[in-house]
């Protein structure tokens, strides 16, 4: 019986790697090949061993291993050249060099050629295991970083494409209105349409301005520029100020807006402007997605060093399948009874970014047909107590 199949509990691989991954060992020394094979097999890998560089390179090309162990001093193709040729095949393969000539010079040489690390003979199984584990972990981190980078670039490109389309749409409408008006000259049709169309043109420029404003705000929030200036902010006071600016819109939409946070009751250490943008967006949404006769209520509280503010509406609600995407850029909720509303599609992404920058969270609960609640939780921060005599 093979002694290896008896080892009931092989030591767990230092790096979490899929079990059947292939490792390649290239060494002209039979005993070395055997012990490397044993150690790596026990770590849970499939091992292919080769006794010279040429065969080893063929094996690497065929098996595409994540990691190669290579002896530096071999007859035929040298270890140095093997390193170079392996990296020609795939620069991400981790190469560990072993050699009997453990001098600083050979180590430096091997590292310069692109080896990940260096292991002098003789070495213990633990030493090999440790170095293999570390090498694979670094490879995993590198791959992860590259994947994230790619994703970010793709998102950025998609974002720019989308913004340009969102800007172009109103621009096209304005162009088309003005062009037709010019061509109609002083015909009766032109006279009939002129005022209405010019009004529509102004509306569309406002749409573009909103998008540009939100786009900039999002960029500022992402860079942390929007949340840099921290000061004690009286949330009750701030929210009542915001509510005041909506008085007209609220009454014309037959809504009731109530802020149930008393001035002075909740103080948070944060950027005042960022908080204004945040709650302004949440209240705007609560108005926009509400129904005549409905209400918007802002509640607040503090527990365990955390400040909680929620904005509740009695609107159309958000379908469950839409909720995971709600904070994504340009996502618009479809399929509800709600009438189509205007908006940049950046409001909630801005909210999420601000809350994240402030070290808090934002979440939504919703009942389709009867309304939604957005809850923001923020760390109180090293808030100094509200100054006596301060406004509010």
């Amino acid at each position: 019986m093979n002694p290896e199949t008896r080892s009931a509990t092989p030591p767990a691989p230092a790096a979490a790697a899929p079990p059947a991954e292939v490792m390649v060992v290239i060494d002209d020394d039979y005993a070395m090949r055997l012990s490397c094979r044993q150690i790596l097999t026990k770590m849970g890998y499939r091992v292919e061993v080769f006794e010279d560089g040429a065969a080893g390179l063929d094996g690497v090309a065929r098996s595409k291993p994540p990691l190669v162990v290579v002896d530096l001093k071999m007859p035929g193709i040298s270890g140095q050249e093997v390193i170079a040729r392996v990296h020609e095949l795939d620069p991400e393969i981790v190469i560990i060099v072993i050699t009997g000539y453990a001098t600083i010079a050979t180590a430096v040489e091997a590292m310069k050629s692109g080896a990940y690390d260096f292991l002098p003979k003789p070495f213990t199984p633990d030493e090999l295991r440790l170095i293999v584990g570390r090498g694979l972990e670094r490879r995993r981190l590198q791959q992860e970083a590259r994947r994230l980078q790619l994703e970010r670039e793709l998102l950025k490109r998609k974002f720019i494409t989308f913004v340009s389309h969102q800007l172009k749409t109103p621009l096209v409408a304005i162009h088309q209105y003005l062009d037709v008006l010019l061509r109609l000259g002083d015909s009766p049709t032109a006279a009939e349409k002129r005022d209405e169309w010019l009004g529509r043109c102004i509306k569309r420029t406002e749409e573009m301005q909103d998008l540009i404003r939100d786009w900039l705000t999002l960029a500022q929030a992402e860079g942390g520029a929007l949340t840099r200036h921290r000061e004690p902010v009286d949330l009750g006071h701030l929210l009542q100020q915001i509510a005041l600016t909506y008085e007209g819109l609220v009454s014309s939409s037959e809504l009731a807006l109530q802020c149930a946070i008393e001035p002075g009751a909740l103080v948070v250490q944060a950027d005042r402007q960022a908080l204004s943008v945040l709650f302004d967006n949440l209240i705007t949404n609560a108005i926009k997605y509400n129904r005549p006769g409905g209400s918007i209520t802002v509640y607040g509280g503090e527990d365990a060093g955390e400040i909680r503010v929620s904005v509740t509406d009695t609107g159309y609600g958000i379908p469950e399948d839409a909720r995971p995407y709600l904070f994504d850029e340009f996502f618009r909720v479809g399929g509800t009874a709600a009438p189509r509303t205007s908006g940049t599609g950046l409001g909630l992404p801005i909210c999420r970014r601000i809350v994240t920058e402030l070290g808090g969270t934002i979440e939504v609960t919703s009942e389709t047909g009867s309304g939604s609640t957005f809850t923001v939780r923020l760390p109180v921060g090293s808030a100094t107590p509200p100054q006596p005599g301060a406004q509010g």
Binding site: K168, V172, I174, H175, Q176, Y177, R183, R200
Partner: protein, 138 residues
């Protein structure tokens, strides 16, 4: 008998401006804000020509509409112009007229060059008219 144009576009302002322009040039204009309604009108109203945006609310909606239109018996050869701003704004994106499932007759970039739009529609309608006439005579 005035020729009927169907505009399928989710931008009501675009539809209004181009629609009024076409009306002042003797066309009857009907419109739909989305692909579903557009398809319904294409079947029910038998327009002479369709102007269709391909990037509407549900991103690819226009393509599906076009595909469905082409699969509808009697509408396979209805003159369709794809009108969109994507041709000039999305790098690397193009629809080649050769792609058979699309088979759109032409595409027109937004903002639409209005005199050229009239020319294109006239040309298409004359072609279609000739084809129908010769078809009928055969």
């Amino acid at each position: 008998m005035s020729r009927k144009v169907l505009i399928i576009d989710d931008d009501a302002d675009f539809t209004e401006a181009v629609g009024v322009y076409l009306e002042t040039h003797g066309y009857q204009v009907i419109s739909a804000p989305n692909g579903r309604e557009g398809l319904r009108l294409a079947k029910a109203e038998a327009p002479d020509v369709v102007l269709m945006d391909v990037v509407m609310d549900e991103r690819t909606e226009g393509f599906f509409t076009l595909q469905q239109l082409r699969r509808t018996p009697g509408l396979e050869r209805m003159p369709v112009f794809v009108v969109s701003s994507i041709y000039s704004s999305v790098p690397g994106f193009s629809i080649t007229p050769e792609k058979s499932w699309l088979r759109h007759d032409d595409f027109i970039a937004k903002p639409v060059d209005l005199p050229r739009l009239l020319e294109l529609i006239d040309a298409r309608l004359n072609q279609a008219g000739t084809a129908n006439a010769s078809g009928g005579a055969a």
